[in-house]
Amino acid sequence: MNALKRCIAAEWLKLRHSRIWIILAILPVISVLIGGFNFSMNQGVLTKEWYSLWSQVGLFYGEFFFPVLIAIVCAYMWRLEHLNKNWHLIMTAPVSAAHLFLAKWIVSGALLLMVQLFFSLLYVLAGMMAGITSALPAELPGWLARGWISALSISSLQLAISALVRSFAAPIGIGLCASFLGLGMYVFDLGLYFPHSLLTVGMGVLSQTGLPRGELALYLAMNGLYMAAPGAWVIRRRRTSDVVSST
């Protein structure tokens, strides 16, 4: 446990002065600005107040830009390791590969939680500025919580890809393709079987009806699978294969 705490502390240290908070903040701001503007201009058609506003601000955020943001965060988490000979340095550290991966996953999860909370704050502010006076939707905490859980699944997958692919940009391109694959799976009613479509389902960006109990159980189980499997695979690879540190 001490080793994991040390690894987490090291990850936070590596993020100092990185200015990644700019990237984490700007995306939700733009999503809510555009979605809120669109909602305000079409209030005659979008009559379900908070629910309509959620469909506007959440659609692009949840479908494309949050997954790509997750990919950027995860690629950034491995950036220093891919520089110079840092892989050799980190593999000689007295911590296990599992602790290294888990620490990055935990820290990226914390960053994504902050993004979700910031997004929810902007959503509420946008609704107030648009003149919505009714109570907030009761489903909102569920959307945000399930969105974060799915974000953890996507981040596990993206961390696995970024750990093995030394390019910064390639995992992000893969993340974008995965977003479209997830959207396609959602359209063909397979949304509960892929992490990017799990985000769509969990955040209710295309359909704000909640998840029935049976589907909620499957949702949580699939998220658990996607959280565990990519990480387990990468940890095993790091234990059994040599690292490549040249560029």
């Binding site: 700019i22 790509v68 950027i72 690629a75 940009a169 974008l176």
Partner: protein, 259 residues
């Protein structure tokens, strides 16, 4: 002059040599195939639901709209990959000791990225023609419309590539360049919802702005009309000029930096 041309050719050749085993072509191809698959699937579903609206114009409008999302991100990924290797390998200092000016190095990277993105657009245009032909669209393949689609997308790509290259070379941390690509993709999708004045200031709006087909809604029905080429020329000239200014500014800024 001859020496400058030879240096430029050498720099360009080296850029392509450096891309060996970087899997950049595969990455851009994957992004394009994902976009083509999505565009063809969406168009196919639309045509089967509304066969009376099947045609080349809706197909081109669909792809122009999707280019607004995909192309900025593809350009960001492509340019980031080409530029990042210099930051990561700390090879800038090494490059600057060569008998080639910084401007030539900057130009070589820009031309390389532009060629790759142009090839991607060509693949897309061929896929559109093939999809339409396979799906038995009544009209023959509209070569002029496809050529206009190709030219407009390439021009928009070149302007976006100029922006991305400036950021990718000026800021070693590629997260910012890719975030800009993502934001550009966002603006590319929602540009049509913005007022005309705001749209004119966003180069990412050019993907739909230069589309030869425009889409309007009459009630709930989408209507497609072919734009007059002449009406697009001033905007295209403006974006070309903006792209040139951004390229020159980026080249000047990067060339004047130490190491």
């Amino acid at each position: 002059m001859k020496l400058a041309m030879r240096n430029m050719r050498t720099a360009l050749g080296l850029e392509w040599y450096k891309l060996r085993r970087k899997r950049l072509f595969g990455m851009v191809l994957l992004l394009m195939l994902a976009e083509i698959a999505w565009g063809c699937t969406a168009s196919g579903m639309s045509f089967s639901r509304h066969p009376e609206h099947a045609g080349w114009e809706p197909l081109l409008a669909m792809f122009a709209s999707m280019n607004g999302l995909f192309m900025p991100i593809a350009a960001a990924v492509c340019v980031s990959r080409i530029c990042d290797m210099e930051h990561k390998g700390n090879t800038w200092k090494l490059l600057l000791t060569l008998n080639a000016g910084r401007g030539a190095l900057y130009a070589a990277k820009y031309v390389t990225a532009s060629i790759i993105m142009t090839a991607a657009v060509l693949l897309q245009a061929l896929a559109i023609a093939a999809f339409g032909a396979v799906n038995g669209l009544e009209q023959p393949v509209p070569l002029l419309l496809l050529l206009r689609f190709f030219a407009g997308t390439v021009l928009a790509n070149m302007a976006v590539t100029a922006v991305q290259q400036w950021i990718s070379l000026a800021v070693p941390n590629q997260a910012f360049a890719l975030a800009l690509g993502m934001i550009g993709g966002f603006f590319g999708i929602v540009a049509d919802l913005m007022p005309r004045g705001v749209r004119a200031m966003l180069i990412w709006s050019s993907y739909t702005g230069f589309s030869p087909v425009t889409q309007t809604f009459a009630g709930e029905t989408a209507q497609f009309a072919v734009r007059d080429m002449g009406s697009l020329l001033p905007a295209m000239a403006g974006v070309a000029a903006a792209g040139a200014v951004i390229y020159l500014a980026g080249c000047f800024h990067v060339s004047r930096r130490e190491g």
